[in-house]
Structures are given as C-alpha cells and as structure tokens.
Symmetry: C2
Subunit: 242 residues, 2 copies
C-alpha cells in the first residue's frame, strides 16, 4: 500500500510525538468527543483506502498509519476488519437512502396521479449525485467505495441490506408511470440505470483517458444533466415488445 499520505481533514496525532500537539489539545476534549473523533477518522481513512484497494487490498496497518494511531486501536473500536468494512458502508448509507426516499415521496406527491419515468429518475439519481458532489471529498470517497463494492458478490449483499427499500420505492413509482409494463422490463431497466450510476460513482478515470479529456470522471454535474433523460428514454423504448 503506497498511497500518498494525504492528510485527512482533522489534524493527525503524530506517532511518537504526542507531546506538543496532544498535550495542547486533549484536555479540551471530553472522552465522548475523543471517541467520536477517533471513530470518524478511522472510518474516513478506511473508506478512502477501501474505495481504492478493496477489502483485501487494505491492511489494518494501512488504516492505522493513515490516521496516525496504533493498529491495535482499531481492534478496540471495531470487532474485526470485516466489521470495520461494513461500518464504513453503513455509516453513510442511511443518509443517501433517506434523502432519496424523501425525494421520491415528494415527487410522488407533486406528480399526483401521473408520475413520469423521468421525474422518478430525477428524484432518485439527481438527489444522489448532488449529495456526493456537494458533500466534498469524503462523500466522493464513499461513492467510489459503494461502486467498487457493488460489483462484487459480498458487496451486492450489503447493497441489498441498505438500499433495497429505496430502490423498491423507485420501482413502485416506475410501475405507476408505466402501468402496462411487465415487472421484468422495469427491473431490467433499473439494472441498466444502476450500472450507469455505479460506473459514474467509481470515478476510475477511464472516461477521461478514453475521451482524451473531453469528459472527466469527477464531473458529476455533467452526468446529472444527462442521466435521467437518457435512462427515461431507454425505459420508454422497451414498450413495443422488448
């Protein structure tokens, strides 16, 4: 693991130099604060590293070094490595899921009796892209983490656990927008949508190189401009005999 030791936002405690820094700060922090801060730093570091190298490509030592703590402290806060991984996934899942759920409910209310595919997809996709893009680096890391994980067998199970409700909500709105569609068409359509979304969140840099710089992996606004309209048209095209 040779990641650039980009400092995470909060100041690192330096190993073997806990005098100045720490002595100046610790007294001001309550234990609850210390705990919360350590947990956050650990999860941020793990999120960053897991998003780039996956569960097995990251060692607990990598995480500890990035935070500037001793490896064993990870065992104090987390049962084991897998649990740390799952908590990285879970931490922000509720936020994105909740936001999209709310957006879908609001859209349903606003659209009344005749929701559209594009409207539902705007609520689902734009809300998510905004969250990552406006949430800064950590949210972008989380997005890449999810995308990476989504293409793996175990990762897909985590997706089930955390995202099924909001996805099924989207599906229910799509069904109302396309009342004569089979479930099969709706689900395959969703499958295409989520593939495009995950490919965006992964931000591998491939589209940058492929397009010779015309598109940029981290340009979520450009994706947002196009994805809902693109996918909605795709759904409608399935009408006449898939």
């Amino acid at each position: 693991m040779t990641d650039s030791p980009r400092p995470i936002a909060r100041e690192r405690r330096k190993v073997g130099a806990k005098t100045d820094d720490a002595a100046a700060k610790r007294p001001r922090r309550t234990k609850a604060e210390q705990r919360a801060e350590s947990l956050e730093q650990i999860l941020d570091a793990a999120e960053y590293l897991f998003s780039r190298h996956g569960l097995y490509g990251v060692t607990l030592r990598d995480v500890a070094e990035r935070v500037g703590i001793h490896t064993t402290l990870l065992h104090y806060y987390f049962e084991d490595k897998r649990k740390l991984f799952e908590e990285v996934f879970a931490r922000r899942a509720a936020v994105t899921s909740g936001r999209r759920m709310t957006a879908l409910e609001e859209y349903e209310r606003a659209a009344g009796a005749s929701p559209t595919v594009e409207g539902a997809l705007h609520a689902f996709l734009d809300t998510d892209l905004d969250l990552y893009y406006e949430g800064g680096e950590r949210w972008m890391n989380y997005a890449a983490f999810c995308a990476r994980v989504s293409n793996t067998p175990e990762g897909a199970v985590l997706m089930d656990v955390h995202f099924d409700p909001v996805v099924l909500k989207l599906v229910s709105v799509l069904k109302r927008a396309l009342p004569d569609y089979s479930d099969e068409d709706i689900f395959w359509g969703y499958h295409f949508v989520t593939g495009a979304l995950m490919n965006t969140l992964a931000r591998t840099g491939r589209i940058d190189r492929l397009s010779g710089g015309v598109c940029r992996s981290d340009d979520f606004p450009s994706v947002k401009q196009r994805i809902a309209k693109f996918m909605a048209a795709g759904f409608l095209a399935l009408r006449d005999g898939a």
Copy 2:
C-alpha cells in the same frame, strides 16, 4: 478463501496421489501439451477466483490448490502474482475485442452511408453478450472478472490497454450516426452503456434478489433483448439540449 472445490473441467492432478492418474496419462502428453494444459488450468482457476475475490482476495495458494499443483509451480510459469492477474485479463481480451471489432466493421459495411445508433450498439453489445453466454462457464467467469476489475482504478487501466481500440471504433460509428452531437454527449452516452454492460457481466445476484426472482443475473439473453434498444433511445434523447 473457502470456495467450493468445484473441479475445473480438466481432471485435477491430485496432490500426493500422482501415481494412477498421472502414470496413466503423462506418457501420452508431450511437454508442449503439458505446458499448455498447466497454463490453461492455472489461468482458469485464477480467473474464477479473481472474479469472486479480486486480486488481493486470492492467494497463490488458493489458485494452486484449486488446480491441484504446488504453489511454487505458479512462480515457474508466471513472474509474480500481478503478472498472473494481468495474463488472466489479457488471455481472452483479444478474442472479445476482435469479435466486436469485426462485428462493427461488418455493420458499417452493411449500413453504408447511414448507420444507426441501435445498429452500432447491437454489433457491440450483442456480440459480447453472445460470446460470454455461449462460451460457457469460463467465459462467464471472465466476464465477471472484467466487470469486477472495471470498477477499480488499476483495473480501468487494463481496460484502456485492451479495449480502447474497439471502444473508439464504436464511438466513431456513433459519431457518424449522430453527426450533430458533441463528443461530450457521445462519450457520456458510452459511459452509461458500459456501466449497464459491466453491471450485467458482474452477475452478483443482486437483481435476482431485488426482483424476487423475476430477473436472473445470468440471463444474458434477456439483457440482450433489451440493452441495445434501451441505450439507443437514451442516446437519441440527448439531442435536444442535454
């Protein structure tokens, strides 16, 4: 690593029991054959394991055990673990790339002056889906391997190396089909297409569980029935001011 020790197609040499089996067979095989067979078995096993657990989630021992050989033999045939990984990628890349290239050229010839988006996508996507679906388990493993790898930073670089030519060919046909489109729209459209394709190739089982069995991850024919038409409509929808 606790994969079911599903035997790979060729009979395994059993460790510590090389008497019957081997004694009966070896004499009949030339060294070139032996070499070719071992290489193939190793690559097949690695492909299977890497597709499920990624580069770091698989040990050389896992691969060797699956083949039924000693770990050190892997070092005899491959420089190191990463090289093995790259050779798994490269082995079938030329085949899929070549087939799609041919299909696109044939389509261009057939379509003459007015190629369509849907026609180009059929050539590109259907050719690939057929290859995996008709190629049996190994090709399906390779598809999952590629999909998994495509969502990672290093994996994306392998995609560049092996697939850029055929993708740029597709892009050139799309440009002819959509002469008034910006490069940006074309490339983002491709980005959505490949996301949907990779999500299909990954076969994580998520769509099966999400849809309650209505869709199946390994049902590539159903995807093939829909994907080109779906994506073509998406491209066309970008026309009026993305």
